[in-house]
Symmetry: D2
Subunit: 361 residues, 4 copies
């Protein structure tokens, strides 16, 4: 049986490049079409990355020769039915227009925020809310699509939701107060963070970020009722701050629980979390969803972000919080351009394959 | 009338240097004795700063010629009664031994933590808890000292306590949850943060820092009862994180109040705070104790830390917090090596002068 | 006698803002017109700097209220004869079109490179090549302009040319080999250096920079022959590297001289250089054009860039170079956004005023 | 046949840790003894790395369990004849005393500078000066040692010497003018570079570094005459600068050759260099000794330092230099804590094994 052909839309941008890396040696999927802007169309991928003699490749990993030589096509040239999945790396305004057209015909796994807040569209994190996949059937029926759209969450939501889920299951979540220290790669290249703004500095504001995290967390932790998602009633409040770190979002979390929360019990809940994911044996899944450190100086972005290839969420400093009722506090780290972006989207595609939503699997 | 002669103990270290700058043109005080280790004693100040041909001066400001040529003496040589105040820039273990001996004879304003937690020793922040100065009389009587010890708070406590005080007065404080993003200069030079540890990184742990902030805040916000301080019953919880910023501690604060807290009322309370300080006309006091920004991208350490010469606390992003009862959230910035260290200690000396605790004023 | 009215073209950009700061309290010049793009025109200056609620002001210094409230006009609205000088902060392609039109009527001091390489246009550095001002008469005659264009050099050329001039006068220059370590602010904001590219990194290439430095240095050090500039025959070779520093270009220089070059003599030549500038008493001129350090760890950008308000060139590590004939080596530092940009252009305007090229002075 | 037992002296420091990583899966050598200070002796390696609950492991790579559990012994306990090679990671003053004692009995591969400048001691870079190994016989005879000492060069010398060798062979070297931009890890931890000194800064001075580079380069490029090394007469001059990069020394090099140096010929010489190394099939040798980039923005430390596991020297921007006779200029990058430190020392041990200097191989 051959691999499942997929396309990457927006293949030359920074998220597109991450998709290339995440998929270049994938056991199930095969990169079959590369779609980019008119400027790149017609060139091979290597040529499309060159500007003024400088090679604009931004991933730490290299790319194999045959992909560097693959021809890039334009959106007009692209025939959705040539592939079984499209991964999109578009900005919100483009995604809004392009993704529904594609979803009429095939599954769309999206890194954009455009469709995250619709009632019939799930925000999936494998291992956290697998049962939300069923919302896809509602979506298809309602919209009359053969395909569907499943966006991944904002990269700041991902690690938070992953760590909150086992706490919610174990103690019942009441309140979450989170301060993020976010990496510059989260802002991408087009409207990226300038060195002269962030050097010797932190910037305590990331437009629209806090609203996304608060809203998405409640949806992801919500309950699928059969035809919709009932949002979790946990109260989430956050302050999102940019710091001078390349990759890896650190989050300082204070939580209040419905019942007495023991520190050791919480660590145990973190460590054992992810059974539903492990059982599926998805190729991009980390060996452990959450890694807990006892060393109080961890997690640190530079040391820990690449744990299990950037797919694990790292937790440390789990302590009692004396100010909140049944309070706990901890620090988490999540790789914003791996689990929080393209590789996270590939993991979603793997989940959907296992669950029968991808044709030909 | 001449200026009041003062001494700096530990004059060649980084905090000692900051004392030099804070005092070199002071209208009331005059640097009269420089005390440092045996290695420096006998040299003039300029020579004492040279190591292997490199001039170890770390402040942004320069120093005037006559101070560079002033002779440094050893602790043994130093006669406390030659001056009216000593400012100490010692590490905790040294302070523990040296400060009480000095306090037998003269007032000691200390940047060390050694005596902060004794019942009879106030932690003063001018404008926040002026009435705590009265504890000095209790201290003198109990210990039989002619002088006294008044430590300033930990640099992370300072900005937090300054912003909490007006909120407490206006709404009544219940709970405080704070995450700090602390500058590397806070760790000083001896056990300073190495570039290779903090570059492209944050470190979510600063040994003993959180305990200090929690304890000191409750004491500073406490009530002087006539012979002791009754700690505030506010619950304070924090996570202290090191970031790659040179100067200026940023703090993300979530607070829960006793009564409904309106955002505009809170800003007004911040802006008008400090009347008791302004009325005293102290030379090192900032024009405004708290500066409030409406621009959501502020405060930023690089842009705002030097506001009013590093003596103001800068506040931004004042918003409702929906997760906590009567909740507010905001971000503050405080200059850890100015208001949070030597210049803050000089401000304390000014307050004590006005209040009649310094002989000869 | 009133001040001379001037205009800033491109007033809202980063160099434009630096012009505002350099001119806001100028004793001779008065900011009379602010010209910017259609997007800003009609607003007052403060409003024009706001984008999405964020105040885009990038200088360390503040701006006085009356300038914040000054109305910004469009190029169409601007009448050149309302002012006596225009300072332009445009990119090269805009400068190419706009500057000649202005120069038909009034003097244009430009920070763009568009006109630097024309035979009849001088690249002025006050104190280095004052006599090149005479080329302006040639320019006016040839082009039939009432005004003229005088560009300042590339910011990397400035410090190099300033330090080479006294060496050339003293020993006769043969060869210059220079490696620059350039600050990120040199790239501006529009195509600025992204934090994710320069964090934990250096980039050994700045497009077109090396050619500019090599060409401009030979022109600036050249001899005015009466109607043109005879280029210096010094051979200049350089490698320009971007480093993660905000402001201040550091340059490692190796020079070969025509005759034996003594280190102490070289330092003396540096220290005494600038007599022709000092005698003119220009308001923006530094007290010393070149400051020489004996401490081998200097100059350092963070410590030294603001010497004499960013207008001095700082030199250190002056040593014999044993590899080159009559060789010397040294390190210099020049503030790329002060002496190397707007403030340097204001200094040129001051020189031109003294020399009678500005009407009304 | 079993692996050759080796010892690491100074095993817990930063270079010691790099030796652990470089040797943990080595096909020829086996870590058999770990020697460290009295403070660590008696603990297992993991425990020895903990201080105040924080795990002081600084390499990007992890360490296998059995090594973490290996017992650390003191120098007194250590019996040199238990192993066949010792790798030392000591500071110069310790190395001076300890290394000769060990060399009486066994081969010592050293990262310290203490013995680099003795007439009978070679500074080896495999592939560059293999024939210098013969000096070991002279050394043994002269000193009456059963073992010997072979230090590796200073980390800044390594990449320079590797790139100069093929140029010397092809065109004949006359002069070298080099400016280095050195990473902070080069300064280690004990007297490491503080974040507050290097943030937003460069420091144009590294004590004693320039002298080392100049001297070692001439020795490494020298000719073995049968009983000593005749130094190369190339003239080397350099300026060594610290920049805020974690790992990877970048060097801007200008060279003058004995004969006309064509750029393409130079690139070809770089690319084909290392035949003598490749033929030996040493396990730690890079696939290519020198990698040449055509992209002008390369090499960059963050992107290129780990090429071939940090063992290759990366070259870019190879151009004519018009200022020097037969001049060329280029930029190189070398990983200072891999090829330039422990892994480079392991490569030397491999070379010595092949050449019959290690017993039991």
């Amino acid at each position: 049986m051959g691999k499942i052909p997929i396309a990457i839309i927006g293949a030359t941008g920074i998220v597109g490049q991450q998709f290339m890396v995440a998929l270049q040696n994938h056991p199930w999927f095969e990169i079959y079409r590369l779609v980019a802007s008119e400027r790149s169309a017609g060139k091979n991928y290597r040529e499309a990355l060159y500007h003024d003699g400088i090679f604009g490749w931004y991933c730490d990993e290299g790319l194999k020769e045959e992909l560097l030589e693959m021809r890039v096509i334009s959106m007009d040239e692209f025939k959705p039915r040539d592939v079984k999945i499209v991964f999109t790396a578009l900005d919100s305004s483009e995604a809004k227009v392009i993704e529904p057209k594609l979803a009429e015909k095939i599954p769309v796994i999206s890194t954009a925020s455009s469709f995250r807040y619709f009632d019939d569209i799930p925000i999936l994190i494998p291992g956290v809310n697998n049962e939300h996949v069923e919302l896809i059937r509602v979506q298809r029926e309602k919209r009359g699509w053969e395909g569907f759209i499943t966006p991944i969450p904002n990269c700041t939501t991902t690690g938070l939701a992953i760590t909150l889920k086992p706490l919610d299951e174990t103690f019942g979540l009441e309140k979450v107060l989170m301060t993020s220290l976010q990496a510059v790669s989260g802002a991408g290249r087009t409207s990226g963070v300038l060195a002269l703004d962030i050097l010797d500095n932190v910037i305590p504001y990331i437009p629209r970020e806090e609203e996304k995290v608060q809203r998405e967390t409640k949806k992801i932790l919500g309950r699928f009722t059969g035809n919709s998602i009932e949002f979790s009633d946990v109260q989430v409040s956050c302050t999102c701050i940019r710091v001078n770190v390349r990759d890896g979002h650190t989050e300082s979390v204070f939580v209040s629980m419905k019942k007495e929360a023991d520190v050791e019990e919480a660590k145990q809940a973190f460590r054992t979390f992810g059974k539903s994911l492990r059982e599926l044996n998805l190729p991009s899944a980390p060996k452990e969803m959450i890694v807990v450190h006892e060393d109080p100086s961890r997690p640190q972005p530079r040391l820990d972000r690449d744990t299990y290839d950037g797919m694990a969420t790292i937790v440390g400093r789990v302590r009692k919080d004396e100010a909140l009722p049944n309070g706990l506090k901890y620090v988490l780290l999540s790789h914003n351009t791996k689990m929080g972006a393209a590789k996270g989207a590939v993991l979603v595609a793997e989940l959907l394959s296992k669950f029968g939503f991808i044709e030909g699997f």
